[in-house]
């Protein structure tokens, strides 16, 4: 079908009211405009001059945003791609604009607490199918609610939220209230965890809440909740009798626990149920999905970082989980969206975006780049598997029995113990030599695999740094088995020619999607700006070494926001290393060996205390 009233974005003109009113518009000549983008809680600044969209005001990086604008004769409205500069509300007040139009004045007044009427230009965001515009009431309502949530979050959380994150919290609230469920599908690195904690903190007084995530992330959630919302009580549950739940409690558990012990959760009326990395529930027929659906909750939130539009069956499963009353009929969903989209219909894609828009919020780093620092740090805590716990404790017992000795012997011994404990954290097979099946045995490897999977989905090339040759080889093998990707391994054993070849191939457009590097060999000098994502698989004593390695991608020529993820295994010596980073960052001349020397100087009891697992439960 070609002609219809549902035009593709930016193609078709829509006649205005046939009243024939062609008033002389006072701002038809030239003026700066501000359009509020409700999803990002930011303003798009642009100009109108001589009956057309002009160049973006020279106050920042230019980005193209689809907006509803008048035709040159001002007789009709249409959707067009407009060059804009995006600014946060705080900046709109002071940003210098030549001849600001009514839309700029009106929003400045709203920011100052006024409530003047908004011209269409102030809320000219089109819907997915290009036939409707955001209403003035909606734009101003979102702005007002988000501003007030921002004020509330400043006292509720110990972290400062970026504007789009504040909007994430206010959006979660509105959506839960209207539909009973929500899918937050922001790209990885934008802070879904923090936004979720913000939402959960606001609902804590009304009953217990439940959060289900991959087992390897349970510790990370506990850590982040303690850090950002100390008022909440996070209780980890691994089966057995439930901890006492009351107002302010957030019960944290993994998907395997939900699958095996789900009925224990059924007796409680949860205020909120959050499903992190909800792609774990992509198949509605699995036991874990059935268990998830039986949880009685006042609101359900699904979090996912994979681009949901690429996996429509998974998307339906998430929609059905959080809003079964709106997305109950899988057959209809398939006929209406899945089939035509797989046949390549762009109209069906737009219809899908329109249909899920009320309950899915999906933002990309590029869309909120103006609110992001050039580098995002994500420090993730992962948990040990039982196999890792047993091995870690056994190794340490052995060392305690043998003793550390003294003098140089002591230093060598301490270093050896540290190395083997860190290898247990990386993967138990590195110690036991049982390297058959790799998945499910190292919390860290599983988490790293999830991140790489998500980056592969997003076409985001990734660097993975490790200190250990063996770990590097294990990663290369695992990525090949899991994803069928051939990740080169850049390490000190390669000659100059091979190293140069790896770098050259990686920087080419169709180069490898994952590159594993040894921290020592790959940490300096190279330019690997095709990647904007860095993972530090293990922790090094000196933060400057990690930072230098991260700067392989954060160099001149990098145009995107760089995401640096560090993986730290909770309760282990890696946590001690991570803690040392915090007070070390200021000192730059620390040598790597001095930290080990420092440990060597401790007496046996103190040393063992540092190495021993800190039990959390």
């Amino acid at each position: 079908m070609t002609a219809s009233t549902l035009p593709k974005t930016g193609q078709q003109l829509i006649p205005a009211d046939a009243k024939g009113t062609r008033q002389k518009l006072p701002e038809a000549r030239s003026a700066g405009q501000a359009t509020y983008l409700p999803d990002r809680h930011m303003f798009a600044l642009w100009t109108w001059s001589g009956g057309a969209v002009g160049a973006a005001p020279p106050v920042g990086d230019v980005e193209t945003v689809p907006l509803v604008v008048p035709t040159p004769d001002l007789g009709r409205l249409r959707v067009a791609d407009v060059d804009c500069v995006l600014v946060e509300p705080d900046r709109l007040v002071a940003v210098p604009l030549d001849s600001p139009g009514r839309s700029v004045d009106a929003w400045r007044s709203w920011i100052a607490g006024g409530e003047p009427a908004l011209p269409i230009a102030a809320h000219a965001v089109p819907d997915a199918t290009g036939v409707a515009v955001t209403t003035a009431e909606h734009a101003s309502g979102v702005f007002r609610r988000t501003t007030s949530v921002g004020a509330e979050m400043r006292t509720a959380l110990t972290a400062e939220l970026r504007p789009y994150q504040v909007r994430g919290v206010s959006w979660l609230r509105e959506t839960i209230e209207t539909h009973g469920g929500a899918v937050l599908a922001d790209e990885m690195g934008l802070g879904k965890t923090l936004q979720t904690i913000g939402c959960v903190a606001g609902r804590a007084e009304k009953g217990p809440q439940l959060l289900v995530c991959p087992t390897s992330l349970v510790g990370n959630w506990a850590h982040e909740i303690a850090r950002f919302a100390p008022g909440l009580r996070a209780a980890i549950w691994r089966g057995g009798p439930l901890p006492e739940v009351g107002n302010g409690t957030v019960v944290l558990t993994g998907y395997p626990t939900l699958r095996m012990h789900g009925p224990a959760l059924a007796g409680i009326r949860w205020r909120t149920a959050v499903f992190d990395e909800a792609q774990a529930l992509k198949n509605p027929r699995t036991q874990v999905s059935k268990a998830a659906r039986t949880i009685a909750a006042g609101a359900r939130i699904a979090l996912t970082g994979t681009p949901v539009e690429n996996h429509l069956d998974e998307l339906w499963a998430l929609l059905n989980l959080v809003a079964p009353h709106l997305f109950g009929n899988r057959a209809q969903f398939r006929r209406r969206f899945v089939r035509p989209i797989s046949d390549g219909s762009p109209a069906a894609s737009a219809r899908l975006r329109g249909a899920i828009e009320p309950i899915v919020l999906m933002r990309k780093k590029s869309q909120v780049a103006g609110s992001l620092p050039p580098k995002i740090h994500a420090d993730l805590r992962c948990d040990l598997t039982e196999e890792q716990e047993r091995l870690y404790d056994r190794l340490l017992e052995q060392v305690i029995d043998d003793g550390f000795g003294s003098g140089t012997e002591r230093q060598t011994k301490v270093l050896a113990v540290l190395t083997s404990l860190k290898q247990v954290c990386n993967h138990p097979g590195l110690i036991t030599d049982d390297l058959g099946e790799l998945s499910g045995r190292s919390g860290k490897l599983d988490l790293c695999t999830d991140i790489v999977a998500s980056n592969l989905e997003n076409d985001a090339p990734t660097l993975v740094f490790t200190q250990y040759r063996q770990t590097g080889e294990l990663l290369v093998r695992h990525f090949a088995e899991r994803f069928g990707v051939n990740a080169p391994f850049f390490h000190g054993g390669l000659n100059q020619e091979r190293r140069a070849d790896i770098v050259r191939r990686f920087q080419s457009d169709d180069g490898p999607k994952v590159l594993v590097l040894s921290l020592k060999a790959g940490g300096t000098g190279l330019t690997l700006t095709r990647a904007a994502d860095v993972i530090h698989f293990d922790r090094w004593w000196n933060p400057a070494v990690e930072a230098q390695a991260s700067d392989r991608v954060h160099r001149i020529g990098q145009t995107r926001t760089v995401t640096v993820t560090t993986l730290t295994t909770g309760t282990t010596v890696e946590e001690h290393i991570a803690a040392m980073h915090d007070h070390k960052s200021a000192l730059s001349d620390i040598t790597d060996t001095s930290s080990v020397a420092e440990l060597t100087r401790l007496d046996d009891d103190r040393l063992i205390e540092v190495l021993r697992r800190k039990r959390v439960d």
């Binding site: 079908m1 009709r76 139009g101 009514r102 269409i120 290009g130 409707a132 909606h138 009320p358």
Partner: protein
Amino acid sequence: MADHDYGYTTWGKDWVRFAESLRQTRPDPQLPSARRMARDGKVQITFDDRTVRAVVQRGRGTSVVTIEVAPMSAEATAEISRRLSGIQPLLTDDLYRAVADAGHPPAPVLDSVDCSCPAGTPRCVHELAVYYDMARRIDDDPRIALDVQGFFHASAGGGQAPAEATAQRWIALNSLDPAAYFTAAE
């Protein structure tokens, strides 16, 4: 037997009913070819407010079908607006049933149907093909079912706009006055 490719939503089903009336007792031999024409893209529909205009190709001939749809009753408009509670219309089968159960079935009423073909019969194959194509489009996007009855015009502009109580999320582009683009309307 009914062809379930058309009217798999309750909203689309209303348009299938124009072709396959429940009162009909004998099979209509024109229906299979009407369905085929809709499926093969022989029907090109454009909308103008509540008027459906369709160019229908059959063999080497082309006919133009014009259908005028009656405006939705104020009661039905109000009922649907209330249930949509101001958000993006999510028109599920459940919503359809709820509105119908409340006594305001949202099924369209046709004011007039006209075809340019010389067939003197009241129901020509072109007309039937348009009903199927409408059903197909509405199954894909049920908002069309409301749009063609003037729902969005009524709830956006009109005197006692039914959706005013709650903050509406979207407003139809064609119900806005470009004169208010740069300066807010009073």
